[in-house]
Symmetry: C2
Subunit: 341 residues, 2 copies
């Protein structure tokens, strides 16, 4: 019997989660049964979608979800992407020491059916990179910049929430493609980080009362493409700066993720018509086929220094709720992670 | 010397225009000078863009506009597309009797440089059709349905302001392509017209308190594409009914044209992300190259009865301001025209 600790959802958040919505529990994990694998988590990912999943949590009396990716359940540990190491196996496909990806974050040790694990090939990326730049985060940035926006050399790209995990990767991939990159983020630490990774025009929105004016200053010719991670007045400013036929990718809208309604877009949809702007909703999950290409490119870019990683790391399972609350309020620079082992 | 009457803009409209913003004037038109052509207008087009142009009118002291397509000027007759007949010519390119298209609506007879006229080839379309289905109106519908939305057989298309000039043409072209068409419009006369032209699911939004529920009833499987002419709650309902990867064309947004701010889009942009919806601003003017193809197709469709035209006609130059005011409040079924001769 192995002792593990896990974070459970105590109450469905009413808007943005608060610490009292979570509780720490200690559980005994029996040896894995036939077809099961026992995993000790190394890293847990903290992602914006988790805020929505908690807000849509169902009670324990609700019928079982058809998918493991279904809503969170009150009283249980929620979902989160995690990288762990196999410590015992009841399935011939996995052996002790294998590095695996699961949706079973929020806990230290767990048993799961083998089919719910993805084995990671030990490669040139560190384990936690599979939760960030080598996972859905990086895929969102890569597919968004290269497949949907198709940002070209010489074009100007605006990235909002640019110091976040997706944003900072999108900025760097666009730079590698030869674009001029404008990044907006809140606070001096994030602004400094954006300069470090080569962003050409940095907007600290916390000190800019007028985003339109700030954009006109750093991108006087307007923008060809927008990688939009925020929504609300950020999206409005991007539309106002958009050149004719500009492309706008809606990757995630943090204004709506953190709870409550998303800020409505100000009334500049007429600008979408006049400038013939294309706005496209986007999910990285539609581009899974690009993952092997991305991982190979990433390893090259990291080795040559064209891509720099920055993580914000919380230590230990008890720090996980705070990490998620911090993500909701923009406390992270780069990828938000919890180190579990 | 020829006597003509024209409508002048007396005051810049404050929001939607009112009758006192216009005045009728009588002018003497001298014989055309060298390089000039004298035209008697037959038909004047009444289009949504004219509302915006009047709202953005400049005073007579403003510097001359670089283009004839510039803003309206207070104290002068504004722009409107018009079809007329050459009645005197000082230019060898035009002879008496030629049918010509100009931007010089709002007047009965006028002189203009020959370069500002487009000669229309007498063909299988009636003269006023060049202001509607054979002009920018039809081009918006044709290019929107076939080039941007690329509506396919078996798909479901939602058209808002479906009984208007662009909307009713879009509905019929989508039907010709084999799509299921849902059309929304306000009032029983428009709803009946939509049924006449073969629209599969008709929504009279004036009697539907809940557009989401109405759409769920007539298009229970959702919509693949939206031809959006209105904005506001209509756009919101279209987004709520959109299937994954749905395409939304923003052609014009009547909620913003009629004056004042356009209705903000309710906070369902997260749906754009989740459903990976593509929203695209659109201007028919980008598709002028399709005009010859369109006019040939139109003549065929009219002859076979696959396309039916409906115009709302005001009689005489003095009726032109009322026609524009009527357009702003949705008084027209099909194309709004003023018959001038």
């Amino acid at each position: 019997m192995t002792i593990s600790r896990e974070i459970r959802l105590r109450a469905k958040p009413n808007g943005a989660p608060v610490p009292s919505d979570f509780e720490l529990a200690t559980v005994d994990v029996p040896p894995p049964g036939p077809g099961e694998v026992q995993v000790r988590n190394l890293w847990m990912s903290v992602d914006p979608w988790m805020l929505r999943a908690l807000r849509e949590a169902v009670g324990p009396e609700a019928p079982p979800q058809p998918s493991r990716f279904g809503s969170s359940v009150v009283g249980k540990a929620p979902h989160a992407n995690a990288v762990g190491e196999v410590i015992a196996s009841g399935d011939p496909q996995f052996t002790v020491g294998d590095l695996v990806l699961s949706l079973d974050g929020w806990r230290e040790v767990f048993n799961t059916p083998a089919k719910d694990l993805e084995r990671l090939t030990p490669g040139r990326l560190p384990p936690q990179a599979y939760l960030g730049v080598g996972g859905l985060t990086g895929l969102a940035a890569y597919a968004g910049v290269t497949r949907v926006l198709d940002v070209k050399a010489g074009e100007t790209l605006l990235v909002t929430a640019a110091a976040g995990a997706v944003g900072s990767t999108a900025c760097q991939i666009a730079k590698i493609r030869g674009a001029t990159v404008i990044g907006s983020a809140g606070g001096p630490e994030k602004a400094a980080f954006l300069k470090e990774i080569g962003v050409d025009g940095v907007i600290d929105y916390k000190v800019e009362p007028d985003l339109d004016a700030a954009l006109a200053r750093v991108a006087p010719g307007g923008v060809d493409a927008v990688f939009e991670n925020v929504g609300g007045r950020h999206l409005a400013a991007g539309l106002n700066a958009a050149k004719p036929f500009a492309r706008v990718l809606l990757c995630g809208l943090m204004t709506g993720m953190a709870g409550g309604a998303s800020e409505p877009v100000p009334a500049n949809l007429m600008r979408v018509v006049r400038q013939r702007i294309r706005i496209e909703g986007f999910s990285a999950g539609d581009h899974f086929g690009e993952m092997p290409t991305l991982r190979a490119l990433l390893a090259d870019w990291l080795e040559t220094g064209q891509l720099q990683l920055r993580d914000t790391v919380a230590e230990g399972i008890e720090a996980a709720p705070g990490a998620l609350l911090g993500l909701a309020t923009g406390a992270n620079v780069g990828k938000m992670l919890v180190k579990l082992c």
